[in-house]
Symmetry: C2
Subunit: 513 residues, 2 copies
């Protein structure tokens, strides 16, 4: 069958199950009740501290076929996923479904566990490095499932993704399971991606390298959700957890794109008192923040909030009073961690509160402007940030689709050429974010507005910005790069791309060798 | 049948259902999964603001037989329960179950709604004033259900108490339903008793008199739980919401009891570095806090936390550094509200986190010492704070049973005579807290230790404290008051007293007139 974006998708996928096809960004064809969760009673005088990961595996009765979860706040410095899987593998356990909010190059040892059948399925919102390569080459028994950050919370809350045991890397914990990411040698800031896991998993094991006296306040994840705590020497490598600083691009092309994007924002009429804004941690995205900062300063505008994974640059804007509040699901750098620790106006949010489409209203719904990237975009404005143009997995939506769906103005900023290949395609290799949720594409050679935003096209007529159709922009790009060869794929599906509402927006097939 | 405390209880009660008898404070005969909750999706560009309570009643499709809930943070200043019920009564709706965490004299208009059949059942943790009198006189169609604070959270989370619509009095709200009790003319501090309602009710309506720009931070109850917001002129009367100050007793008998209680605490060995402590807002309870304060200052002791409903006196101890943290489920006075607003070390907790016996460990489980009152206590140390000695309802457990079950040392402080009647009975009129969870009774004439605490009896031998058996203490009391006449009751059950685990610990029968 074909879904609403004309992507060819089987109605049943082995290792995944029945497919509910994507029906439109706001169709929500299957809103479910929140599931219940198993309650394990801890009474007075019971202890939650265990001596080792092995003891925790005994307590949770780890066995073949279970689904275990991890969060990615320690990013490329995470030790916890590897430690736990090593112990599971030692026991000869097979057929684990690994639900990790993201997977990074540091998780390379997972490739062996995939090959040995310890892990036969992966569910994640972002996968890069050796594990992505292993999946792309067809090493996994079952297709990987790629979700959005909000979609993952939705899947956990609705029971679509039932977690038997959640393992939580906790930079600080007390002996009763109150957790936060604020202190200790592995401090990472907000723990927003771990919240749903803790609330809905049958069993929750916190793994920490910084055990403090009870109570560990402020509490981000409460004792009422945590069964066991294991103290280890190190949950991560500080170098990989947070970068010292996130930096604005120095590339003149990137700066030009940022300048043009700020022109679009301004023309839209959304840059005004009380505005809300989100941008990523990439160099061009931060350059757009800098442009916005200058406008806000000049015009004396104070915004309501900035959101997302928070960077030092956004913290600076907040401290300067350009935003009254920050909504933070994860801290990208040390300045963000510091700010999160100091001010209650730097407010944490769970992944559900950030982007779940099926709760009573996520933060993304209140976003005015979001700045996003793209690996490819097609003439229907569908975006790919999941696969490289050679068809291999190299990322995933993360919050891309969530923010695009919520924001009043979604701007894609990108060079027109990427690795000598054209950005704009007739058809993107993989869709993760539907074109109906994308408003504008800004490149160094021109700006294309989604035709459904005639209001915006009108507003941009009053500017000097180089607005053209996406087809025109595509032609300019192809003059530089030539038309790329289509990649050839086999029938085998190596990954299923879920939209935030749980429908299937695309599948990724194995590349012909 | 008889339960574990030998109370006569039918195995089925009309209007209540099957009875699961009390089987011991830590037996937990029916731990259930958390239930799911209905999810109502709020998408981008949808508004949650409604113009009136009537519009909210339309939106939630209010109808006969529904269960609606309220919280009691506005205490005797609350306008919200009366406002909503008036609108429901105007519609001719009948047979409502009213689940309010507590009911106060201000809720007198409810008596008419009971008589008219608008409200036919009440579930609460504390009931005083005209509504208590109406229930006692047999005006309700179905028996009232009295729960503990932790037991109420348990009942809501497990589905034993399913809430169709939760109405939340919100001292501050934004237009997307982020709520707190910190600002506005009806500021009341922490909103711990409303949390389970918001998480598990099918529909949640916030009613506020202080609507602020989005986002309303810090967020105590998140937008992801709130369907609608209604702005009204006034949700409460500040005079009744928080008292200006809570005061230590000046009565020399009360001060003597406090002094003796501090001797018991000291002898127990629990007054030491890292200790935790809870006491009520009553005059003697606060006098015990003062005694503890002096010991801690003199000996240079710093405690880990104080918990419960927080008073200014406890805030002073916290500010002086005698406790590192406060766990607050409700603020009793203005100083507590102010402290809660200022410091993240003054940490909020939900009723579930406070005292639910069926989650993964409540705060009460980590309490060292709790100081509680009693209306009556019997020679098995069972306590009544629910009915007066004439058998009429005048209160309820609140957190009494929760803290008694959790704390390492539970001390009852009370005058030996109360309203010319003896405190100590062969059998209390109503049991709400089982004797096995009470360690010591301190009165002005002597101290009785529960025989199961032989360790404590040994420790008290080294002091000058007047320790005796509870029978001896009872005899002293009866010399002063005479033996009271037993009250005569009819068969009709007017209220069912649930222990925190949901079992029935006692029933209250109608008094013979």
């Amino acid at each position: 069958m074909k879904n609403a974006l004309e992507r060819e998708i089987p109605d049943y996928i082995e290792g995944y199950g029945e497919v509910l096809p994507f029906q439109g960004a706001y169709a929500n064809p299957m809103v479910k009740k929140k599931i219940g969760s198993r309650e394990s009673v801890v009474g007075p005088n019971e202890t939650k501290i265990l001596s080792s990961i092995d003891e925790a595996l005994d307590k949770v009765k780890i066995r073949d076929g279970m689904t275990i979860s991890f969060h990615h706040h320690l990013r490329n410095g995470d030790h916890v996923l590897n430690m736990v899987l090593e112990k599971i593998a030692e026991r000869g356990i097979k057929d684990i479904t690994l639900a990790s909010s993201s997977i990074f190059p540091v998780h390379a040892p997972l490739v062996e566990h995939i090959k040995n059948g310890v892990v036969t399925k992966i569910v994640a919102s972002y996968i890069s490095g050796p594990v992505a390569e292993a999946i792309s080459s067809g090493s996994m028994k079952k297709p990987a499932v790629l979700q959005t950050h909000g979609g993952r919370a939705r899947a956990i809350e609705s029971g679509d993704l039932h977690i038997d045991v959640a393992f939580v890397a906790a930079p600080t914990a007390d002996n009763y399971g109150n957790l936060n990411g604020l202190q200790g040698k592995s401090a990472c800031g907000a723990l927003g991606y771990a919240v749903a896991d803790c609330q809905f998993a049958d069993r929750v094991v916190a793994i920490t390298d910084h055990l403090v006296p009870y109570p560990n306040c402020p509490i981000e994840i409460s004792q009422i959700y945590v069964d066991y705590i294991v103290k280890v020497d190190s949950i991560g490598d500080a170098e990989g957890i947070v970068s010292g600083t996130t930096k604005i691009t120095k590339d003149p092309v990137g700066l030009k794109i940022a300048k043009m994007a700020s022109g679009v924002m301004k023309a839209s009429g959304l840059v005004k008192e009380g505005m809300s804004f989100q941008t990523g941690a990439g160099g061009i995205s931060l350059a757009v923040a800098k442009e916005l900062k200058e406008i806000m300063e000049k015009e004396g505008i104070q915004g309501s909030f900035a959101s997302g994974g928070i960077t030092g640059y956004i913290v600076d804007m907040f401290r300067e009073g350009l935003f009254r509040y920050l909504f933070d699901v994860q801290c990208f750098d040390l300045k963000a961690v510091e700010s999160y620790t100091q001010s209650h106006k730097h407010q944490r949010m769970s992944a559900s509160m950030y982007g779940n489409p099926h709760n009573k209203g996520a933060v993304v719904n209140n976003l005015d402007i979001v700045i996003l990237g793209a690996t490819e975009i097609d003439t229907d404005f569908n975006v790919n940030v999941t696969t490289a143009s050679d068809g291999t997995i190299m990322g995933g939506s993360g919050g891309h689709s969530d923010t695009a769906a919520g924001a009043k103005l979604t701007i894609i900023v990108s060079n027109l050429m990427r690795a000598r290949l054209p950005l704009i395609r007739d058809k993107v290799t993989t869709v993760n974010t539907p074109g109906e949720t994308i408003d504008v594409l800004v490149t160094e050679r021109g700006i294309a507005v989604n035709p459904k935003r005639q209001d915006l096209i009108e507003k941009l007529k009053d500017t000097n910005l180089p607005v053209m159709t996406i087809e025109e922009l595509k032609a300019i790009g192809e003059k530089l790069t030539g038309k790329p060869k289509a990649i050839e794929t086999e029938e085998d599906i190596i990954a299923v791309v879920e939209y935030r509402d749980g429908t299937v927006i695309d599948v990724i097939r194995k590349i012909k060798e």
